[in-house]
Subunit: 222 residues, 8 copies
């Protein structure tokens, strides 16, 4: 017995349990998926190599009516039967650099899987702040209700964005960077310590958590 | 010239600039208040001693039609003319311990000043988790849209609350604690690293930021 | 001469010296085992690859009447002749997540090797706290005398358990987690800083140490 | 309403809620004491100055049949009616230096208040390890069941003691020290990382927690 | 003998030794000043209280032809005979907030004392980035050769400025901030880890060092 | 769409955007290079293995008139058409040890690519400080305007150099070192905390940033 | 009973126990001194205020034939009867700055109390390295056997000295400094990570420990 | 030109420059060795794999009269012509565990190469402190002048040894350990913060530095 899946979590909290691949054996993941505790089942932080390892073993799920989708950039596996969830509110996702994209894609995959429409603007970071204006304008035009800002290095982008828009900003620090920036603490602390008040921050590289927060907010208000 | 007040911030971001008393001389604060850049003007982290120091000097504001309200537990000064802002959504505030109350009160004062109705439940921390059930039930009955959870020490309360309710949770770590808990990093990291995904975290002791985030969310959706 | 095995340690302290494989060459371990300083000999933190490397070389021990047992999940090798140790008291082991299981199994193997009966409940973490109730009830029914709680991420589970039961709790933080949780310090500090007093904490990932503490307590009182 | 006292905690966990004075106003403490939620009521980390401040205000408790005892070295206030609790097991307390004594006294006061007999040996630290032998011998002769070892600086004493005795050792790091030892992390890490396995560690300066753990162990086995 | 003043330093390095008041007794400072090792003599980090303490004792310097100037906001004392140094290049100084002004003033005083013309723009931080445009434009119009940017909290302003101008930027992190920002490390790391390359960073709160660097650059090129 | 290249950056800031290979896929880099956003295009932190991976795919650039130069020690790829940039000022580069050379070479490659003449003196560290005198003398003779000092371990060389010369010093800490020096923080802090004021410091291992700062200074003054 | 003085320590280790005033009450210190465990008795880290507090109470020691000497800069109290210890070897003490002098004086007092002759050179730090040459030359002429180098800030002086002389160097980091240098870790790490091998390092501000090491070395070889 | 070997260092400092393999290419090392700057040439931290890589290329040194000796456990390569250095004083080396042996062997190899006689006692750590007595007694009998104590984990052994002997102790922390002990900081801080004063500490895993310090001490006094 490796896992006691929390099947009621979606009912209770508006967001179902997902399977974090880190720290679990491939066998553990296969076993959880085959027991199909929820619909959809989402596995995060599953590297392409690990997906290859289990692909064969979970293929029987397709015969049982599940589709299997793996997103290589976001390292996410989605196994599901049903596709009807849909939310009205739109979410914007912005990254400071190219290297922040995998974390942003983790957030996007989760959001779309749960019915949100996502508008993206990647690589618009603070070193050339003019690149930010048009995408931000477009997002507000499109009436996004929340903007997720993903940034590594000095993590200044959420402060700048939050000082320009009137929708809530969720900051996701990334571990991109070297020297003092290694591990993402520099970006994390910038976001927490922002002089633009009112940024909700999640863990380093946690695109998943940012999406979960956005979905919980949307469900609470829709 | 000490300050270039950002008078347009509320228009742009839905939340006006506040005056952080830390790092400013009493003279700086008096000068900013007398120039009355916004309505209301909110000064945070102003200790009772410092309020006493400037009380006399800002009394002329009353003749100019402003009311002056100082909240001793929250260390907040509010100077305003107008009182008509009002929002529909309710916000719950929970603290783990008695010592977390000043931070919670900072959040409450800001929220109420901007028109939110607040429902409180203080000292319900994880060591006696049954104390949490009734207040949580009451808050959900009352249809709160967001719950702010303030906790020091091991900072576990937001995880537990977020695992039980379907509204978004904002976590505020406090610097309460000693030994490894000194400074609040232990609580902060617990909230960021929560195994309940979707908690939006703000800086240590930053009740102000939690309130700002809640207000921005509410404004975006109301 | 690589090791001066502390053969009298069990007599003095109630718990024999074990061989920590980290930082030792395979040759060192073989040499220590063949010189058979104690019975049983327990090697901890020995990866499956390293076990394969030395398997052949230590096989002569079987001819000398020792059994050789390797536990792959717990990374523990037990070489022994005798199996008669037995203690009356039972110990419960709980993990917050699936990824904490290897550390829990390290503790379980040691405990059982020294004659304790172990009752397990894995993956019952704080995000869905209701999963905790039944296993905890069962453990208390079964009259466990000590509960070992293994948790990574925010490490909140020991606090919650210790607030619900009247037996001593030993907390084992794990290095499961990423971002601020990387390395297990977040979990460690939560346990040390718990607002439920009276949790005995051991080093990060130290299932071995938790078992040793439990056995020493039981021996002292039985 | 400042506090929601957890009156059932002793029943549930074998150890009642105590009042941590840190982070609470004098008023908060008076209010909690006068509402007399438990018997005994124990206030920890209350400095002599703060005790003087509230002494007058809580004197009415004496008319209501409570005794009021303040221990200056341990910074503990005990308010109680009844004195009949008594446990059979004895506990040893050892300190490395003179400066560790206040933390040791915090533990002793709590232990005696809950009916344990305590045997002390203070200032026997590792720099002159011969000073340790006689007191340790006496404690074992007296059949102590648990030894609490309090040490600052390099925190080596628990390792040495645990390598010599067959009863469980609880390590309490103290914040005594300067330079790299400031704050007690050096001592804490030494105890967690001890090469004598099986030391249960509590937070820095947490004599209270060590006593709580000892009492929970004793209650579980007596 | 308390000090061996490095009288040749200006000749060698283009910038004379200054007297850091931290860690020196008032007596030490008086003794150094009266021995008048250089002209000018600059004492940094001398609080107003300490200046009051030594004022009397150093007044004899005035009879010897020195002027004595104390800048209260910058905590700098300047004692000099001669005033003829003058440089052609102008330097801009920008602060993010009001609380960063003392550090900026430390830099300004030093710069002006050594003959630079300084153009200031204070409190123009990233939360309202539009406030930055006009002052920056004016500075470039005025042909500043270097811009010193002083910022605490998340320390993002140097990145933004350096992404907009073609003169070198010197970043000075300040210790303004609380929680994760306490001590200024958050701001420091942001500046070092900036995604706009080419910012020269000095120690936290080190307005003095920023001025010294600017002067050395100017001297090397003029 | 992976990258929004900041093509105007050179115009605005005097230094063009470069491509940091860390955190980008090989595909991302190829795609950016083939779209040829600037001239020259510089890719930093590209390991020899990664260069081999993309070599083939970017060879078409040669047909389009670009030269492709890869510097193995500096891990830098330069793709350019034009070679006419040239600056008058010379820059000195000094390393403390042999192991600091790759970082120094990163700086040198960038500097030369942008038209600076560079004078090198490697392995002249503080343990044998006499080795420093001749090279330093030669550099000053050659009229260098800026000296970049690259040092790991205790990072003392910039302090010593800056105490001897009258040109500005840029300090680059390296991650060379083990134990307390691991990661380069020890060297970084030494440079920031130098008792020779006026050293401009860049991130650990950031030869690129040091070169960018030098170029910006030179452009501002030439 | 507060202290179990280690009276045999000098016999065993060549260096007697001293009384660290930190963490002890004034009463504790008086009690230890009046019981006169050794000759001499040395109390370290005793501030002038604390010395004033106990002066009266220990005056009876003078009647018993002890002399009482308090060194204000070194914060050391020496109480002794006998003055005949004398060692042949000389020790040099160097400080980088003026602010490091109190730590150097702590070392000097201890050394002289135990019979060493000390040669001092204060404020000769690396920013003006030429100031170092003469004093160093004089020390070597005088045939010092050990040089203690005391330095805060970047802590580079021991590296430079150890690269120039052929006697062993003991490094004492001091907590002088601000920003990244606060607390002395920057200096400590520089000394440990020195590229001149063979520096023996003691704790931050630990002049006492440096003297003890020097004395032990001298005793072992004389 | 990769290296400017400090050929005079032995003359100046009594200890020649050695070649740290970390951070140097194999080519760099070959080039330095073939240019034969000193006799002996010692390369430290050269892994067996790297030695295999260069073995062939440096074999020509043998024709030139050098012997080539590689110590696999210590990761040290010694290339020398001459073998006549010899010192009178003996040095003891003690390790706490088996895993500390490589660091101890690094020290031993260096010491013996420079003519010291070494007496070893490995794996005598504090968990079974009786194992320490005999070896320590033997060392003192043999008249060792210095004891080097190598320890990881909690690093308590140097404190204990220094409290028992009257020769100077050099502490070498090792990076052996996991959890809070990872990297060796726990052991380092214990040694610096030891309550037995007078331990000279070197960097983590720095057996080389310990040997260098011992040799410098011996040379100064012999
Ligand atoms: N300034 C000092 N720095 C470090 N250790 C000291 C100092 N002064 C005394 N000690 C030692 O610290 C220990 C003090 O322990 P205790 O007095 O029992 O709390 C004794 O072993 C003293 O020799
Ligand atoms: N308690 C608080 N915590 C965090 N930020 C605050 C607080 N009070 C005010 N602020 C914000 O901090 C900034 C203060 O910057 P300044 O007043 O210019 O130094 C403004 O953007 C305020 O909106
Ligand atoms: N505010 C300051 N920040 C950093 N360094 C300073 C400051 N003021 C003076 N200094 C330098 O710090 C050193 C002070 O060393 P000392 O006065 O000998 O303790 C001298 O080299 C000064 O030039
Ligand atoms: N997994 C483990 N975690 C902590 N300590 C251990 C572990 N396994 C063995 N030990 C203890 O660590 C010490 C090993 O030291 P050594 O084998 O001499 O390097 C012995 O005292 C063992 O009892
Ligand atoms: Mg980009
Ligand atoms: Mg409470
Ligand atoms: Mg789970
Ligand atoms: Mg003592
Ligand atoms: Mg402002
Ligand atoms: Mg070299
Ligand atoms: Mg000086
Ligand atoms: Mg061992």
């Amino acid at each position: 017995e490796v896992a006691r899946f929390d099947i009621g979590r979606k009912l209770r909290t508006g967001f179902p349990e997902a399977i974090l691949a880190l720290g679990k054996d491939d066998d553990d993941i296969v076993q959880i998926l085959l027991s199909s505790p929820t619909d959809p089942m989402i596995v995060t932080r599953l590297s392409p190599e690990r997906f290859e390892n289990i692909r064969e073993e979970i293929s029987s799920l397709e015969e049982r009516g599940f589709s299997i989708k793996y997103n290589k950039r976001a390292h996410i596996l989605v196994v599901k039967r049903d596709d009807k969830i849909s939310l009205d509110s739109k979410v914007g996702i912005i990254t400071a650099g190219t290297a922040d994209i995998p974390v942003a894609e983790e957030a996007r995959t989760i959001l779309e899987e749960y019915g949100c429409q996502v508008i993206r603007a990647y690589d618009v970071g603070v070193a050339g702040i003019h690149r930010l204006v048009q995408p931000l304008y477009d997002m507000l035009e499109d009436d996004v209700k929340i903007i997720i800002v993903v940034a590594g290095m000095e993590g200044a982008l959420p402060s700048v964005v939050a000082g320009l828009v009137d929708v809530p900003v969720i900051g996701v620090p990334t571990s991109i960077g070297y020297g003092v920036g290694e591990g993402g603490f520099s970006a994390l602390y910038s976001m927490l310590q922002s002089c633009t008040p009112g940024i909700g921050v999640v863990n380093i590289d946690n695109g998943f958590g940012a999406a979960a927060l956005a979905i919980k907010i949307i469900r609470a208000f829709e």
